[in-house]
Every structure is written in C-alpha cells, then in structure tokens.
C-alpha cells in the first residue's frame, strides 16, 4: 500500500491557463500555484488519506493509517490553441478519480474538451540518447509481450522491423509484428527510473522526487511528444 512511484497521465486540451486555474479552484481549496518558465503552471496540494487494510489481526489492532498524500495537476502550453494537462498522483486509484473529477469540471463548467494523449514511442525511441534507454516492452496483436532490458533492442527481423512506427493500424493489419508499448528510461538529473506507456502514462519509480525534479522530467518527456506532434502535423 505504501507508494513506490509517482504516476502521471497526459491529456490534450484547448483550455487556457486561466481556465486551468479556475477549474482547479473549483476542485480543491487552498492549493499552491507554481510557474516554471513561461509555459508550465503547476497546482499542487496534499490529500489527507485514510488507509485501511484487509480484515486481519494487524488491522483489527492497529486500525487505519492517515497519510499525507501528494497530488498535482500541471498545465503546459503547446501552442496558442493547445495545451497538455498532466495529472499526478502517488496511487493509480487516486489518479483515476482525480482525472475523472477534474475532466468533468473542464467539460461541464467551461465547455472545454480534455482528450487522452497517446505517446508516439517509436519516434521517441529515435530521439533517446543511448544512456537514457534502459529497456522496452514490445507488444503485438497476437497479445504477445516481450520485455528487453539493458537498452538492447532485438535485431531488425520481420517481427521487429517497424519498432519506430507509431501507426497502430498498421500493426493491427500485421498482427505478428511488434510495436513499442513501453519505454523504460532514466530521466532527469537523478536518472530516475521511468516507464513511458503508449497510452499517455508516465511512471516515475521514486515517490520522493521534488516537484522541480518532476517538472524537469516532464520537460524531457514533452520533448518526445512535441517531436511526435510536429511529425504528425507535417
């Protein structure tokens, strides 16, 4: 039950920083706002979480546990019309309800859509410096999964000859071929173990990272994404 990682999920929105601030004001009271350079705003706070466990002797004797639980939502400007919204939590279940509640506020109170963002890992792989890449998870449409660690990717054979491709429809039509479903990276000044999933999820395997360190890693990840989006719109 104790946190082992920080989890972040990426969304795309047209919301301005003003809407972002107003929506989060509606969701949480007394949160702290921080700005990083000109394009990132972070609203963060702590939830007072009560933990209970299964019905066992320990729980009966010790009862529940109160835990000071970090949480944040980040707004990052992409261009004049688009921004990224990044939800951060120590637990996946908290992230699920945070994302649902805040997304609802954006959509119902401000009429702004919030769409999940997919990471283009194939293009991300091309950009990765060798010392950053710790491994990868490969998946195909036969439901096979392969995990490679130590930065060694499989040779360019028929199964693996499209790893830099992000067109999932192509893989659906060629179900034996593998695509990148996760990248295992070392990011930030502390070379934090990081898992980047195609479905827009980032897992940082260090729950004690400072907010500034997290923002630094987010800039690294955004480098990968912005390259993907430039390619897509080109």
């Amino acid at each position: 039950m104790l946190p082992i990682s920080l989890i972040a999920s990426w969304f795309r929105t047209s919301a301005t920083s003003e809407i972002f601030k107003a929506a989060l004001d509606e969701y949480v009271e007394g949160a702290t706002v921080e700005r990083y350079e000109t394009d990132i705003q972070v609203i963060h706070w702590r939830e007072n979480t009560v933990f209970t466990f299964e019905d066992n002797e320990w729980s009966k004797n010790e009862g529940s546990l109160l835990f000071d639980n970090r949480r944040a939502v980040i707004w990052k400007k992409v261009d004049d019309h688009n921004s990224h919204l990044i939800f951060l939590s120590l637990f996946a279940s908290s992230l699920a309800h945070l994302t649902r509640s805040v997304t609802q506020i954006f959509e119902t109170s401000y009429g702004v859509e919030v769409q999940p963002l997919e990471f283009k890992l194939g293009k991300g792989l091309v950009k990765c410096a060798p010392y950053v890449l710790a491994g990868a998870e490969l998946t195909n449409f036969h439901n096979d999964k392969l995990v490679f660690q130590g930065g060694i990717l499989p040779p360019n054979e028929d199964f693996f000859d499209h790893l830099e491709d992000d067109d999932i429809e192509f893989f659906r039509q060629h179900p034996h071929k593998f695509y990148l479903s996760k990248l295992y990276l070392r990011l930030g000044e502390l070379m934090t173990e990081t898992i980047l999933s195609r479905e827009g999820l980032l897992i940082l395997n260090d729950p004690d990272l400072s907010l500034a360190e997290v923002v630094g890693i987010i800039y690294d990840v955004e480098d990968v994404i912005s390259e993907s989006e430039r390619s897509r719109s080109a």
Binding site: E47, V50, T52, L66
Partner: protein, 138 residues
C-alpha cells in the same frame, strides 16, 4: 452524467475494465438522518486472479465524512488479490459533515489493480477506472 445513489461500470459502458466489473453505492441514499454505508464491489470475471487491488473514495465537496474521520479528504482500502470468478465487496461508514453545509455531494470511487503478479521483470502498470454518484445530505 453523475448518477444518484449508486453507479456501475461494466461492459459495454465506455471506459469499462476488461472482464472486471465495478460498482459502488451508498445506503441510505439520503444521509440526513446521520450515518450510512458506502460499499464498493469488484467482480473478477477473468480467467486468473487480479492483484494489489486499491479502492479509493473521495467526497468531492468534502460534505461527507469518510470512515468517521472528519480530517480525511480521501479514503483508501487495500486488498491483496481477488480470484477468478470471485466478488470482493468492501464497506465503510459515511456521515454528513456538518462543517460543510451542502444539499448533496458526489462520492467518486476509483480502483486500481494489477492484472498479473508477474511484475519482477515487467513492472507494468496498474489498470484503473472510476465511477461517481451523488448522495443527498438534507
């Protein structure tokens, strides 16, 4: 759109979890007379167990006290695993928070779990989902 008193997430509702059903409800639905119970039920229809289950409940307006602890803003419960074909219900007490005057509140329930315990070489990521419903407080 938020439902009233209870909510369920299962196929074919959008964002459902594959072969895992989630439901949550409050009884009574009107908490004006004092206390009630929040129950989350997870049904595992998969061929194998699911692991590291985490249930998380938050009262959006903080107008509901979770598990008798007025200072808590979020309630969490952990369970090691749910076997194939089994249902896991979990309940805890809820009551009106007189310090936050409100006619109603939305209780949002999130869950997360791992579809496999083979995590040593593949840390993977948890599957997660959330549902919400409103309760009356007057």
């Amino acid at each position: 759109m938020t439902t009233y008193c209870k909510a369920k997430l299962s196929y074919p509702t959008p964002k459902h979890l594959p072969a895992v059903d989630l439901s949550a409800e409050a009884r009574p639905c009107n908490l004006a007379k004092g206390s009630g119970t929040h129950t989350t039920t997870i049904s595992n229809h998969r061929s194998g167990s699911i692991h590291n289950i985490d249930i998380c409940v938050k009262a959006k307006a903080k107008a509901v006290i979770l598990d008798g602890k007025p200072g808590a803003t979020e309630y969490k419960h952990g369970c090691a695993s749910i076997r194939s074909g089994m249902q896991y219900p979990h309940s805890f007490p809820i009551s009106v928070n007189a310090a936050v005057p409100s006619q109603s509140d939305e209780l949002v329930t999130g869950i997360s779990f791992n579809g496999s315990s083979y995590t040593d070489t593949n840390p993977g990521q948890a599957e997660s989902a959330s549902i919400g419903f409103t309760v009356d407080l007057i």
